[in-house]
Amino acid sequence: MIEFFRKQAYLIDFTMSSLLRRKGKNFGLLLVYTLIVFMLASVMLFSHSLRKEAGIILQQSPEIIVQRLVAGRHALIPAEYIQKMGRLRGVTSKKGRLWGYFYNPVVKANYTVMAPDHLDLSTTEVIIGAGIARTIGLGIGDYFTMRSNNDTFSFQVKDIIERNSELVTTDLVLISPKAYRVITGIPEGQFTDIVLSVRNPREVRKVAEKLVQKLPDIRPVLREEILRTYDSIFAWRQGIVFVLLIGALLAFVIFAWDKASGLSAEEKREIGILKAVGWESADILHMKFWEGIIISLSAFMLGYLAAYLHVFYSSAVLFESVLKGWATLYPQFKLVPFIDGLQIATLFFFTIFPYVVATIIPIWKASVTDPDAIMR
């Protein structure tokens, strides 16, 4: 057994010196390979972390949102619907919400305006998301203006929403319910929607079914559905980037195939020498296997490490405009590192396995021929 390990150590040693003998070619290959792994891993890490991040933040959102539909479209919901719902088993709270969108033509950005009743906001105060503060250049104490119904309303910025939730709060504007009704013209006794908290997650679907039975003109939106939507949006964006990367991938495949399969006359001669001095075909295959492993594993580790630093320490500067998906109000935040074993395994399989195979096949062909060519 020890002889086997010693033999492998000799083969690795020889492989390393062989790689160093063709420094330029091999470093070039390593660089391109690392770059490909870096790009793929960046997209995977970034999308995965975004989905996780959004999921964690949305965990705090209500389990059920009840919307009223008129002719199939979302309409305001009267406050008496809360009473009409009656007592529902498992529902711990029912509350009407006021919220909507506001377009600011000056900065060409859409804000999400919400009017929570639990915040101690006067009618002239506002809390804004960090993206808005950054885009307009506002700080606490400055004035934030919204135009509606030919009137202009000014609010003093009381606070800016903390950064760790910036992914979903970058465009958020929080004002008092009273101010919201004045700006939008929504009368008292009407809400945008009603939110329900359900203690047991397994009861959520049942509660939603009961709601629809009691109030046929409403549509319950479950939190898990929102999470699923976020998931598919980020997955879709990841797909777009992957499509864009296909060109680069193809170029790499051609490069790697050429490098791996096109044995030079010098390499063929070396295989002949090794066989003539007593190496078996299997020894040569082992040696080339180690060569493939050394190159691809180094590229994988370097690329993955670079991608990790890129995504979690530089906020994925190369991909954020596509993957984060905001048009004007780009959120700035540091993602909490999430690493998924399956994702690493997938990337590992698709980057290392094909290269090692592409390296071994042509060598196998060369190594099974008689070594007497070296005598000529």
Partner: protein, 225 residues
Amino acid sequence: MLISLSDINKVFNQGKHNEFHAIRDISLHIEAGKVTCLKGSSGSGKTTLLSMIGCLSRPTSGRITLENKILSGLPERFLTDIRRHTFGFIFQKFNLLQGLSVLENVMLPAYPLGLNHKDLKASAQKLISHFGLDRVMNNPVEWLSGGESQRVAICRALINDPQILIADEPTANLDTRLSQEFMGLLDELRKTGKTILITSHDPIVFNSPVVDRIVEMQDGQIMES
């Protein structure tokens, strides 16, 4: 008798329009502990014969035995094992691996054996010292002169302590002085009990007193033995 060849034929591109008979019905016995020279002009078939004896290729027909063990027809794996332990090769163009040091080149044939690194290195260093190459031991082989390259090739051939040394046109790339020096080294090896098989059309080799027997070849056949 160490090696025996009976009715050996080697045909290249058999069945094709460019079919070529390199060796025709050769039978030969090679004695242990002697220096045998296969003499002949270029294309006479000596290298082809040598490569079959050294298990680098197989005959198309006929039988090669090594100490009563039949070599012809053995699977590649067994041939390699015999080649590794029984034969040491010195090639015409030395065939050292460029970019590797003298020491690495000498150690190379022993890598697949998985020997203790310290012991292997010590044996290689001993051989290198014996052939006066200490000074260049860690130099890449492309820095060496022709004579030095050949001595490295000899060290490499000896690293697994083979019973038989095979040298194909060993003086083809050497001047007269170096050729004579090489024959001196062969004499030394013969005295240690090695069997040496050499191909050459160089008079320095076949006229040398070191050579015990000359086998003359022409057109793939033995003319005189």
